[in-house]
């Protein structure tokens, strides 16, 4: 979605349509992956973004293909919000050669540099320096673009958080640091692992704005994002936004989630981001229930087609093992040297 001017508290119908669509795509994509994972056909570690849709979508509603994002192990939502193709994504998660990364990356490394999506990342905290680098290119090439770094509350205690934000701040880079505080890093609560009261507080260490918003409220996220994106595009430097959220599923597929408490139930119902946005859009008269429900249907269909596409796609060919290591030559045999 291209850069846009919104009026204060609301969104246009066009914007709302895009946002609701993307939120649905994330939700149905993730619910579906969850389902399929249960059948045992999906390889590897899979971390689902369901529940946190408002964050990726609120942020990316201000971005276009020239803007970059860095992501995390929980990257499907960021991909979708940044405009990645559902078919290519699903095929990647299946490890097929039609995947966005030809099946070589998988869920934890899904990427699409053409769309400005610099990759999910298997390394917690990996994204901070990477976002700084993308921001540096923007600044040096005067592209007017921004880089958004999504990261978790757990990543907030990794050294790269500190190094990355400090660098972005001293160089006034157009980078936006977006904490997705879902209360846990794996099975460890935020309030145990982090000595700060809120992640937004840590902005003071870098003399930059820090803001805490309801990460279940896509409008609130979008508005905070707008301020940050404007600052960034104006050369005023980075912003730290903390979005308070919750993940619908476990840390990864297979997690028994015994560390969760009562709050779990509420998050799956009342506090649900999509439900909230649905209510907002209909109550404000921006869209009708019929329109929204039709979108829901269509998105389900698109996800079905993505699964079908993935399942029908070929596995990578053996020779692909040795490709893409270097630009200038192919790796040689090596298995028996």
């Amino acid at each position: 979605m291209s850069q846009t001017q919104t009026n204060q508290a609301a969104v246009s119908k066009e914007e709302a349509t895009w946002m609701f669509q993307k939120m649905l795509e994330i939700r149905h994509f993730e619910d579906r992956v969850h389902e399929i994972f249960g059948t045992g056909v999906l390889p590897g570690f899979v971390h689902l973004y369901a529940g946190e849709e408002a964050i990726a979508v609120g942020l990316c509603s201000h971005l276009d293909d020239n803007d970059y994002i860095t992501s995390t192990h929980r990257g499907h939502g960021h991909c979708i919000a940044k405009g990645c193709d559902l078919d290519g994504m699903m095929a990647e998660i299946y490890g097929r050669s039609t995947g966005l990364c030809k099946g070589k990356g998988g869920s934890m490394h899904i990427a699409d540099i053409e769309k400005g999506m610099l990759g999910a990342n298997g390394i917690v905290g990996g994204g901070f320096p990477l976002a700084v680098g993308a921001g540096l290119t923007h600044k040096l090439k005067k592209t007017g673009g921004v880089a958004v770094c999504f990261f978790g509350d757990g990543a907030n205690n990794h050294g790269t958080f500190h190094e990355g934000i400090n660098m972005a701040a001293i160089w006034d880079l157009p980078v936006i640091f977006v904490a997705e505080n879902n209360g846990f890093g794996e099975a460890t609560p935020f309030h145990y692992a982090s000595s700060c009261k809120s992640i937004a507080d840590r902005a003071i260490s870098y003399d930059i704005p820090g803001e805490r918003v309801d990460g279940k409220d896509v409008i609130a996220v979008r508005e905070a994002a707008q301020r940050a994106v404007e600052r960034a595009r104006n050369g005023e430097g980075p912003t730290l936004i903390e979005c308070v959220t919750y993940r619908n599923y476990g840390h990864f597929e297979g997690d028994a989630q015994t560390y969760k408490g009562e709050e779990k139930v509420k998050h799956l119902s009342d506090l649900d981001a999509i439900k909230k946005f649905y209510t907002y859009l209909t109550e404000q008269g921006i869209m009708t229930e019929e329109e929204l429900d039709r979108m829901d249907e269509e998105v389900r269909g698109a996800v079905d087609r993505a699964v079908e596409f993935a399942e029908k796609s070929p596995h990578p060919l053996p020779e692909q093992l040795l490709e893409d290591v270097y630009v200038s030559y192919k790796t040689e045999g090596g298995a028996v040297s």
């Binding site: 590897g44 099946g103 998988g106 890093g185 460890t188 609560p189 015994t258 790796t331 090596g334 298995a335």
Partner: protein
């Protein structure tokens, strides 16, 4: 005596025994218990390690000794170095060995060198347990086998067990060893079962184990590759070739004598290592024999390894990434073909 445990249980039991024997043993790592400061969990764990290897420890030893850490590898691994130097005997769990990228300094420049830089006036009785290995569909950043790094660095001991029995005895030795030990656990071996005696026993470092005897070719196989090599040996045996499988068990120190004696007997060496091939444990062992065992060799030294590529995600690629029995058989055939009937 014939009690069977999984590899994972063996590792768990070694930790529990060491913690009963010595109050100074503590365990630090991400979600080694899990659920720290969650009201309804207290001394119950939420996870007991990402793969469940440390399950039950927090119940027995409490959260003062089974310490969940933030996602701060440099922080807690570095802390473990000085905790060790100041009187504790910590075990630090680095969830995946790939995460050494976040804490290499603490291991290489602090822990490994502290004793030497201090002129021998300090010691670092720290064990770093870490998961490695491909085959789990965990892709490029969670599947590496990085023991060559640690073997390269003086001041570190490197342990890589291939069976539940070895895992328990070597881990107990590691924990009570007075030097920095990096202990590798292959994530695909955790469910493997084997005989494991009750109680405490220690396997000394620098003693390779001959996992299979044979006269025709020496196969030095590292970690999980021991089992791949055994399959290959069974195959070869059908063709009249008897392979001797040497499991070094510790890469640093390395039991040069056992490897050299075996090659002296067989005249041939294949090294099987699932790590990437350059500057690797495979080249290390091959070079050792090319130097000190040259006169024993009747054929070129062969190395069966992963190719020089990251670990691919796609199962169809990952399966051909890893050394297989078939590749080992081929390597042996290449070197023996002219002399032995296939």
């Amino acid at each position: 005596m014939t009690r069977q445990l999984t590899f994972s249980q063996a590792v768990n039991e070694a930790m529990a025994i060491s913690m009963r024997e010595d109050q100074d043993v503590i365990l630090l790592g991400e979600d080694v218990a899990g659920g720290a400061a969650v009201d309804h969990l207290q001394n119950e764990e939420a996870w007991g390690g990402v793969m469940g290897v440390t399950k039950g420890l927090v119940q027995e030893f409490g959260r003062d000794r089974i310490i969940d850490t933030p996602i701060s590898e440099a922080g807690y691994v570095g802390a473990a170095v000085t905790a060790a130097a100041t009187g504790m005997r910590p075990i630090a769990e680095l969830m995946f060995n790939d995460f050494i990228g976040s804490c290499l300094d603490e291991v290489m420049n602090q822990g490994a060198k502290l004793r030497y830089m201090f002129g021998g006036k300090a010691k670092v009785p720290l064990t770093i347990r870490t998961m490695h290995g491909a085959g789990f569909r965990a892709a490029a950043q969670h599947s590496q086998s990085l023991y060559s790094f640690f073997t390269h660095i003086p001041g570190i001991k490197v342990v890589i067990p291939s069976t539940p029995y070895d895992a328990k005895g070597l881990l107990l030795q590691s924990i009570f060893d007075d030097d920095l030990v990096v202990f590798f656990e292959d994530k695909t071996l955790y469910t493997m079962k084997g005989d494991v005696p009750e109680g405490s026993y220690r396997i000394p470092f620098g003693k390779a184990d001959i996992k299979r005897s044979g006269e025709d070719v020496t196969i030095v196989a590292i970690g999980k590759m021991v089992h791949t090599a055994i399959k290959a040996a069974d195959e070869l045996s059908k063709n009249g070739i008897e392979a001797e499988i040497v499991d070094p068990r510790t890469l640093s120190p390395l039991d040069e004598d056992t490897i050299l004696s075996s090659v002296e007997k067989t005249g041939r060496l294949v090294v099987v290592d699932e790590a990437n091939p350059r500057c690797s444990a495979a080249t290390d062992i091959a070079a050792l024999v090319a130097d000190k065992g040259f006169d024993y060799l009747d054929a070129p030294v062969k190395m069966v390894t992963a190719p020089h590529t990251p670990v691919p995600f796609s199962p169809s690629l990952e399966d051909i990434y890893l050394p297989t029995p078939d590749k080992i058989v081929k390597a042996v055939q290449q070197m023996t073909g002219s002399e032995l009937v296939m």
